[in-house]
Structures are given as structure tokens and as C-alpha cells.
Symmetry: C2
Subunit: 203 residues, 2 copies
Amino acid sequence: MMSKGLLIVLSGPSGVGKGTICRVLCRENRHLVRTTSLTTRPPRKGEEDGVDYHFVSEKKFYELKNQGAFLEWAKVHGNFYATLAGEVEELRQKDYDVIMEIDVQGAAQIRSSSAEGISIFLLPPSMEELWQRINGRGSDTPDAIKDRFKTARHELMEVWKYDYVIINDIVSRAVKDIEGIIAAEKCRVERNKKFLEDIIGKR
Amino acid sequence: MMSKGLLIVLSGPSGVGKGTICRVLCRENRHLVRTTSLTTRPPRKGEEDGVDYHFVSEKKFYELKNQGAFLEWAKVHGNFYATLAGEVEELRQKDYDVIMEIDVQGAAQIRSSSAEGISIFLLPPSMEELWQRINGRGSDTPDAIKDRFKTARHELMEVWKYDYVIINDIVSRAVKDIEGIIAAEKCRVERNKKFLEDIIGKR
């Protein structure tokens, strides 16, 4: 019924499993695509340029930032991350629903700049579980892990600013919950103005 | 995660098929129950007292109304309809999600009295289809049918005041849409305050 795809912001603390949820969602829903973030962080093992991230230099990052090319950007643990506004808009115009898997700083920028986005906060089943997930990532030093966990605790407090909250205990269930949210949002009266006016006339 | 069942108001123009959708929804979802409306209208063929409606006299209706027993009430085509507030509250306390299949007048009362209800408007696939459905009910005089159709056109304009809109073209699809809305609403941050405070502390 809608004339343009949805913008879905999936966020949550570091280590909560945003990436996995996002990949499964996009694999199982053809109308849903995720944006490829830019980052100045070096690739982790197995990460591919242009697929997992666009890996760029800090110089290139600042160039794009100064051009106003970013929908959101954030500095997390010393590295920059961003989303290209043009990429998101183009996909939505093609009627794709766009999901952005971003940290809480970036999500706050989207919420303040665009009222039409849907924000979903991903919660760990428990603080112990979050600790284990951060600990088990295996690519950071002990100090980096402690820093990451401390940040995660602060990030959790951001949940109050979101539209929806999902617990990431079982991936398939979290995915199903998000699919339900997307389907429901498409039924919102305010998202179907044009369609409704065509059928029953203007307000 | 929530401590109390949802209140879902399903409304729409006369003849749009609210009753069918509501029956299928409650049959397929054990957590979902519908309230039994009171009415002063005489039973139609096949309707059972206490199942389809509580059939009451006008005298009894006014008695209950004066006691403040109704969550909403309406006069439609010369007959009164109402929902008992106590019945709804009791079910929600038992953690059932309560769905109320009511006309647009009653729905307006719920919206103005309770911010926590979810309102869903059921739309016919087309005005022609609505005409055929009203025409085919077979229990009304030609004048009553015309009156019903005219009312339905006005009722359609109420859609703008609702949270969600669903098209009743295929029953199974409309049912699935409503199930998605209910699941999504349960993930709303504001409906999970207590649960979130227990996990991450107060705001």
C-alpha cells in the first residue's frame, strides 16, 4: 500500500548480536536489504570489503563527511563508522525496506533527523550472556574487552528512546519478532495516506 | 514480557466482515479472546445468546448504563450495543489479549478513554465489494440496506483516527496482518517498562 520502503534502525549494545540478526533477516526477506556501513577500522578475519563494510581511510572518511554524504556517523572504540544517505534513499525509492545495523550513537542521529524511521533495540538475554559474547569475540585485548563491556552497560540505558525492544535469546525468534514489527508498521494509517485518499477521498 | 494483556479494538464500516475476522483470530490464537457484546437488537437466525451477543431488553441496557458498567456503548440502526468494562479488565488481568469487535462510535469512546488500546480499522477491498456484502446479508429491508450503506460511507472517514488499517480482501491475510500487529505491539518499549527496569535499572 505504501509508496516507499521503510527505514528500520536496528541497534543495541556492542556484542549483542546485531550483525547475525541482520544477516538472517535479509537472507529470509527479499524486500529487506541492509546498508553497507563505511568504517575506518581494519577488517577482522573473514570480513570482505564492500560486503561487510566499505573499508576506507580516515582521510576519505572526512572527505565524505564534509560533503554531507552521511545519514549518520559515529566514533566507536577509536574507529569511525558511517552510512551513506544516498544509498539508503535510492533503495527506499526502489521500494526496498532498508535495515541499518548501527550503534546507539548513530541511531540517535537517525531518530533526531527523521521521524519516519522505526527504531528497534536488541537486548541480550542477560548481562552475563553479554559479557560472554564480548569476551568470546577473540579479536580484542583484555583492556579493550573491559572497555567494550563498560560501554555496553551505558548503551543499554538508551533503550528508553526506542520504539521497540527485542530480546536476542533465540535468533529465529528475534528475527520473527522483527518481521512482525515490519509487517505491522506497513499497516500504520499514517504510512498509507496516499493509498487511503485514493480509495475513500481526502481528509 | 508484559504484565497485562493487550486491548485491541477492531472496527470498520458495517458489513466489512469484522465478525468473521474476529472469530478466526480467536480460534487460532489461544491468548486472544473476544468480548461478548450486549445488544438490544433481536437475534438474527443462528445467533446464540451468551455466545454471539448477550441479548438484553432496553430496560436492562439502561440499568447497566446508569451503573457505569460499560466500557463503550453505541446506538446503531436503532439498536443499542455495549461492552462490559468488568469483563474486559478481568480477562486482561488474567493475561489474555482482549479483542473488541465494535462499531466506529464505540471505538471512538475507547480511544478517548484509554490511551493503551490498539485500534485497527478494517477496510473493504472496494466500495463495490462493501455494497455487495451489505446487500447479501439477507436480513434487512431495501431501505435498511440503503441506510446501512450510507452509514458505511461515513464510517469509512473514521479511518484517519486509527493506529492501523487492514484490508479485508483475503480473510487469512487480514488475520495474519492483525497477528503481526499484536506481536509487534508487545515489543513496544513503553509496554515493557517494568520488565526493562528489572533488567537494566530504572530510567
